[in-house]
Symmetry: C2
Subunit: 368 residues, 2 copies
């Protein structure tokens, strides 16, 4: 396994050298884990000309669920809580005669950056930008396999919930039960706070579960995901409570479903991010919901739940094969409720059967 | 209620003016909430010479559990996900003819700070430092009342757990059950990830619950807290599983208990942070555990679980009345396990009865 992380660091080293920096200091948590194999929060990784060094403020072996540092890394645990791993990384770079160091200016605060400069006044600091985030977009088989399991776990948890009585229970309790089931099925934890919206709260993105009880006739929308080995899936479904959905519910559901399908079908290597967004958005604009749509129709998933790419009108770039993304349109009608349908898929070429659906819970409108 | 937040902003404004800045741009989440009354994550608050303005990327009224912006604030919701509330705040400062703006350099990233500078090249940017964090240390009655409820909730959850059968259950399931009970008793959620450590895992700070099952003869240490209206309590207790604790368990428990009591008794207005740490640390050093102690013996709690002050050997400063802190020493013996005892208390003068204990679960060594 160590070779995977070493190869990732080699790619980063090459990219740095091409951009004129002798070394990189990585401090974004997910970026450090991606390159190191495992690290506690707040760690910093020096990817340099010599041996790479992981600086941690906490014991990197205390929490096996975030993985362990690769064996070829040198690991330095700082003795005091005041020690800043990024500052220690800069000091090491100076000691190793590095002249120019690329840092993650979108993760480092102004205060930490200043502390770096003050311990290493002769070091030329450059911006690494989102180089590691870009490198993380295309996943390898192992990563996709973790995502597949994360998706299965969430499907299981959701399936079991649907077999239980829902009327009369609060959004908060349903969310808790889902999170318990995620862990029962092997998740390290929820990938993000589980959202359960009933009645007028249904269809709201990221709705925090409230004390509202599920009632007959409600729409019930649920959005959850599992964290498996650090990889995070996302799935949302919307149901109707009671025997017969109202006409407006059936109509709205069909509109969102059609939009979500259009988005899924637009996923292909070479498709522009904005085209995927456009495919789903057009359907809902045609149904008169243009004003009610969120800023994007999907996003990448992996070590973080909302990572690159963004599938949005203004996003620049094209999909590659083996990029896992969500397609998650939704419409909320104020005072009435709404629908959200969300899958995690992996972009695959047509020849391989097209996009691989990881979240397989049915998207028929279930009346529960 | 609006007056409370307005008064907090007035204090900050005065402090800014004294330091030579005409306005402040606050971007730390807890700091924004403290001054605004409620705000979604990522918001920024311009505390200026004119009307104060809260800039949000998300709807500030969507999640009532984080509170609502005070009514006298002007609220601006940015239209797109690309809009940075802090950048919008800087633009507004320029439009309001502000010449110098203090920003939170320990919260803003280098990249965001640069974006601020580029939209407002004529604006003189200064560092607000931890002015708001300092202001947050001494709590008002309303805040202490929220913390008191948060502590009661955690006590209830813990008390109920102790009435159930523990042997054979995994750390992970015990942690989940505690978190469910926190919510049952009215918490918005756990104040931090609940830690449950059994046997060799007991006594480890922040131990993430594993699949290890509780066994006869184990130490079981539990650390949890409730988030009530944004305010976070913390309590830890250690128990013995089975009828009769071993001698080493009784001895270690008594040592940690004595240290924790010494720390609690050292809490008083005017006491130096390091004196409190010293009081507890001396007891454990005397028992030969000096090498096994963590870097600090307690910390402030409030809108964040680990806020100022730090009760540590190198900490500078003295306690004030109405500062809520934890006293949480612990010792872990590798391979055997350990003890952690942690309370949330409010510093009070002797005349008012001394420190107010918020977490009242017994600290006798219970054999369960």
């Amino acid at each position: 396994m160590s070779e995977v992380y070493a190869a990732r660091r080699t790619r980063l080293r090459e990219r740095c050298e091409a951009a004129g920096s002798e070394a990189a200091l990585v401090s974004g948590d997910a970026n450090v884990r991606y390159l190191a194999g495992g690290a506690p929060s707040g760690a910093a990784l020096l990817v340099g000309p010599d041996q790479d060094v992981l600086f941690c403020a906490d014991d990197p072996y205390a929490d096996a669920s975030v993985g362990r540092p690769a064996e070829d890394l040198r690991v330095v645990v700082l003795p005091t809580p005041e020690g800043d791993p990024a500052v220690a990384g800069a000091e090491r770079a100076v000691a190793a005669k590095v002249g120019s160091l690329a840092v993650e200016e979108h993760h480092l605060t102004v205060a930490r950056h200043r502390a770096l400069r003050s311990v290493a006044p002769g070091l030329r600091l450059a911006d690494l930008g989102t180089a590691v985030e870009q490198q993380r977009m295309v996943k390898d088989d192992e990563e996709i396999s973790s995502l597949r399991i994360a998706a299965e776990i969430a499907d299981h948890a959701l399936g079991e919930l649907l077999e239980s009585i829902l009327v009369g229970r609060t959004e908060r309790h349903l969310a808790l039960e889902l999170e318990r089931r995620l862990i029962d099925h092997g998740a390290r934890g929820p990938a993000f706070p589980t959202s359960v919206g009933s009645g007028p709260n249904s269809g709201l993105v990221g709705h925090p579960p409230s004390d509202r009880r599920v009632e007959e006739g409600d729409f019930l929308s649920v959005c959850l995901g599992a964290d498996y080995r650090g990889y995070r899936s996302e799935v949302a479904r919307t149901f109707v409570i009671g025997t017969s959905p109202a006409d407006w519910q059936i109509e709205l559901y069909e509109q969102v479903f059609a939009a979500q399908r259009a988005g899924r079908e637009a996923l292909a290597p070479g498709a522009a991010y904005r085209e995927v967004d456009r495919a789903a958005r057009l359907v809902l604009e045609g149904a008169g919901h243009g004003e009610r749509l969120g800023p994007r129709i999907g996003h990448g998933v992996g070590l973080e739940i909302g990572e690159d790419p963004r599938l949005a009108p203004s996003a620049m770039g094209k999909l590659d094969a083996c990029v896992p993304v969500t397609v998650d349109p939704g419409v909320h009608l104020p005072g009435r409720g709404g629908v959200r349908i969300d899958d995690t898929l992996v972009v695959r070429p047509e020849a391989d059967g097209g996009p691989e659906l990881l979240t397989i819970t049915t998207k028929e409108l279930l009346a529960l």
